[in-house]
Symmetry: C3
Subunit: 438 residues, 3 copies
Amino acid sequence: MPLPFATNMRLKLPILAIGLELAMIILFGIFVEYDKDQDIGHQPNRTRHDNRFLALYPLFQDVHVMIFVGFGFLMTFLKKYGFSSVGFNLLIAALGLQWGTLMQGLWHSEGRKFHIDILTLINADFSTASVLISFGAVLGKTSPVQMLVMAIMEITVFASNEHLVAEKLQAQDTGASMIIHAFGAYFGLAVAIVLYRPNLEREPENKASVYHSDLFAMIGTIFLWMFWPSFNSAIAEEGESQYRAIVNTYLALAACVLAAYALSSLVDQRGKLDMVHIQNATLAGGVAVGTCADINIHPFGAMLIGSIAGIVSVLGFKFLTPIFASKLRIQDTCGVHNLHGLPGIIGGLASIVAVAMGATDRTTVAMQAAALGSSLGTAIAGGLLTGLILKIPIWGQPPDQNCYDDVVYWEVPGVEEYHDHTLKHDDHTLEHNDQDEE
Amino acid sequence: MPLPFATNMRLKLPILAIGLELAMIILFGIFVEYDKDQDIGHQPNRTRHDNRFLALYPLFQDVHVMIFVGFGFLMTFLKKYGFSSVGFNLLIAALGLQWGTLMQGLWHSEGRKFHIDILTLINADFSTASVLISFGAVLGKTSPVQMLVMAIMEITVFASNEHLVAEKLQAQDTGASMIIHAFGAYFGLAVAIVLYRPNLEREPENKASVYHSDLFAMIGTIFLWMFWPSFNSAIAEEGESQYRAIVNTYLALAACVLAAYALSSLVDQRGKLDMVHIQNATLAGGVAVGTCADINIHPFGAMLIGSIAGIVSVLGFKFLTPIFASKLRIQDTCGVHNLHGLPGIIGGLASIVAVAMGATDRTTVAMQAAALGSSLGTAIAGGLLTGLILKIPIWGQPPDQNCYDDVVYWEVPGVEEYHDHTLKHDDHTLEHNDQDEE
Amino acid sequence: MPLPFATNMRLKLPILAIGLELAMIILFGIFVEYDKDQDIGHQPNRTRHDNRFLALYPLFQDVHVMIFVGFGFLMTFLKKYGFSSVGFNLLIAALGLQWGTLMQGLWHSEGRKFHIDILTLINADFSTASVLISFGAVLGKTSPVQMLVMAIMEITVFASNEHLVAEKLQAQDTGASMIIHAFGAYFGLAVAIVLYRPNLEREPENKASVYHSDLFAMIGTIFLWMFWPSFNSAIAEEGESQYRAIVNTYLALAACVLAAYALSSLVDQRGKLDMVHIQNATLAGGVAVGTCADINIHPFGAMLIGSIAGIVSVLGFKFLTPIFASKLRIQDTCGVHNLHGLPGIIGGLASIVAVAMGATDRTTVAMQAAALGSSLGTAIAGGLLTGLILKIPIWGQPPDQNCYDDVVYWEVPGVEEYHDHTLKHDDHTLEHNDQDEE
């Protein structure tokens, strides 16, 4: 009764999810084949370790953990939105990796049938990552139906930009600072600006963490932090390039942690650390070192990039996010601008500096700049368009007073029982306190 | 004082655990040797990557994570049974993998000394998985002593059935839909029917989740979901078979998620998602695709199997489980019938269809059907027998009023202090509320 | 106002963290180079799997998970110190692995430039592990500034002892029972004795767990337990040695679990299990089997060592820890003496027995005994010296009444709001209850 629209979810979500899955099955039936490459096959004089796909499989699984545990739990910091954070993350990603496989495969095969292998699975996870970053910008204010629509839209634009940057421009972006992180962040911010809600400007009580929700979020942070070297190296060229991508990312992240802790304490008047900074800014080094990860930037260069990213990220949370919300009408729930947007741009700029200094001859300053421009441009254009589509009032967007609250979409233990036993109570506060105490 | 039997645990658990461990040490001393295969050995012109065991090791560790984190945390959804869920899961599995190593090794060596290698460790984890599935059916109503007895019984039957299916029938069950999942589920259900307690029919207050216990359970779900491709491919033949097992499982799981979300919303009158469905039914695709995982069923075939499993699993939770409890006297705490039982049967049937359609010539329709029948038959017979043994009133089974409550077996923070300070209070409700609020 | 010193953190932590990171960047610039070994390089007739570093990478990532998730979450058992446990663990480790890389590299290169590769990253994680063990001994009673100082001090001593044991004495300690576990434990205990605080003898209310904090700690336990075979085998010689290290550790841990559960129940008057034992003593087998892990001690030998370690560890928690606190003025917060100290010594002694019995000829009884003596001696001496430095009252050590409480260093949700709304309340108990209930 207080949630009239919720009833409609009963038809919207099932119809859309089943419809999309049917479409995926049909499209996979038409376009997708197993890899038959003899390299994978069973050959008489090769032993098990000789099949190349098992060599990439551990890197794939690390990336997989980042997508599902990393992104999923990182967003559980909200006190009443944990089910949606980790649950919708799974839903969006499950759709995203199917659609990403198709989009990237079709671009590559120019519309013909194509094969999938472990590298395909990694790339599908990557395309999904961009959607999950954008999800962070609108977390708590959008319905799962909207997010499924966004996943389809965003991955379509993502695959086009990725094709342009990697194939046409031949730019370098091994760790994807530009094409995933900056792209995902600005796409999400563009969606957020279209979906702006003035009533949420005075931050609702639910848009906060509790003690244990912050610990759940740290599960996400730590898994992202640990496996980021795999993310940045998974599609690097084998040998020295891949090795450098791992080492540079490892060092950038270590340096970033010290910078993030230092700044978090420094910007607080009592010198106290802020969980928001620790959960997010400690990861900025992994984002920022991405584009240059496999280039010879020297170990200390990676550490410098990581330190700068950590500092910029904390400053962004402290000073930019409030301005974005109040002046630019951008309500960035998870602060993806500070974790993915700014560090992604730093990554692109760092690659321009590195190329200008002669660290690699596989690309040029102009191509790197074009790649950054293309990623930002397509992200913002695609995000604004997607935002307009999501604004059509048919996707079950939650009303202002139900934002950041699982109870809109989930059976929440404690809450419903309460309803059943005392139907006369409509008081939401009471109901929620009930939930909190458990 | 309210727990007279608990005192007895002080002797029962230590004597049984130490006795079993001593027996294991003696049996390992008699039967188990290191692998001396020259393939593993240090050979002059081979480099580190050339030893075959390291190639399987990452797959083994993924399976290991599923057993200990996956199963362990999946069962922490109960509000007051988290210590037991993750703790007894560890205890049962630690015994199970030792006993599983022995049982499978002795069948294979026909009673002589045998070697262990990484493949042995994977198979030991597999035999343990069947026990942990059965544990889910009786969770909250059995003592750790009973579970140790069940582990010994079940793995003995499991190894016999596995030997029959794989060696005698030469049936295919790479991902073990039949020999692990269906077997474990029906074994557990058979135990549950023997241990039926009429007083638990009106669901006790403790048999429910709270907000954060559902999030802990999602840790289990996500790790199971991510690493399921490793589970289904770990013992597949190297090369194309193993590659297909990974890709098919990955796609079946992705499709399953969309189907499970759609159905969960559809079967609720207000369209709300149910955490029980999301925690469990999203995994049904991994179970159901298991038997066919390494066969050429086409990518879209894997997605179809996954979707069907997701749908059937949610319908099982919604409509079958209540009937099981009320009419069949089967109280299936975790709903293992919906996650492992039905999808396991779907897996067996799918393999029959695939073989009939000519997808593989390594097995026949008759052998697959015999494998399914054998797995179900031995599971039910073994489970009934085990249930009768567990019903003997010497294993410290908790009384009805203490089911689903850690306080029977664990020092629970808050609860005991309360006791000490206010010995006059025998009121259990108060004591438990205390625990909840922390 | 009740935390006058906290304000000072605003300068101390940023200055120290930024200063140390700058020093690291400069030192890495001077000394550290990428590995240029042609083995890693891209060679025409080699395929991806042929580069040796990818073979070690999965083992490295397992160790990485142990350091950041394992140690980090294991210490979240305290009800109000979860942010600090997992957060400072990350901070200390991020510094430790940079400093460890330098210290170990410089010893090895004798002060010249040196290369880093995946093995270097593993060793850096190892040196960090020793600091995190010591952190457990002083958890809740020290500031992050003190811990950064300790990390620098301890790793310096650690690297010297490791160089002495491995290079000079040529002793065997593959799984590092002596040089990491015993070293880290006794270093931490020596620091704890110097930092002894009589007012904490009557255990403060905050030095306890709540229900969900114990579950968070189990995340740490389980990840440590699962990946310990990787820890003990990561630097073992390839082939049979590495294989044995994995199998022995796996079996020792399985046996240890049964022993730990048995003893935990046995030492409680009502036979109830204690979460402290389960979280810690189940891991003692991994520590104790470390030194002998790659030696031919037979599978049953590994299980014996594991069982003994589990028993000793529980007995240590039950009987030694209280005596340490009351008689020896050693307040060992996490009981690292029982998890790392005693089992580490058992590991060293087991290696002496194994060598005496002729299990290996790569070392001698005398060298193993010298290695154990050196590890204990340098740990205690280094710990006492470090304790004296940390006692200088400039590092922001928390006052007695704020020990084991995140609120000293962190913005804790709920607590600050409370302050803002009701500035007249200075009552800490109220404030904390507030935090608990969320």
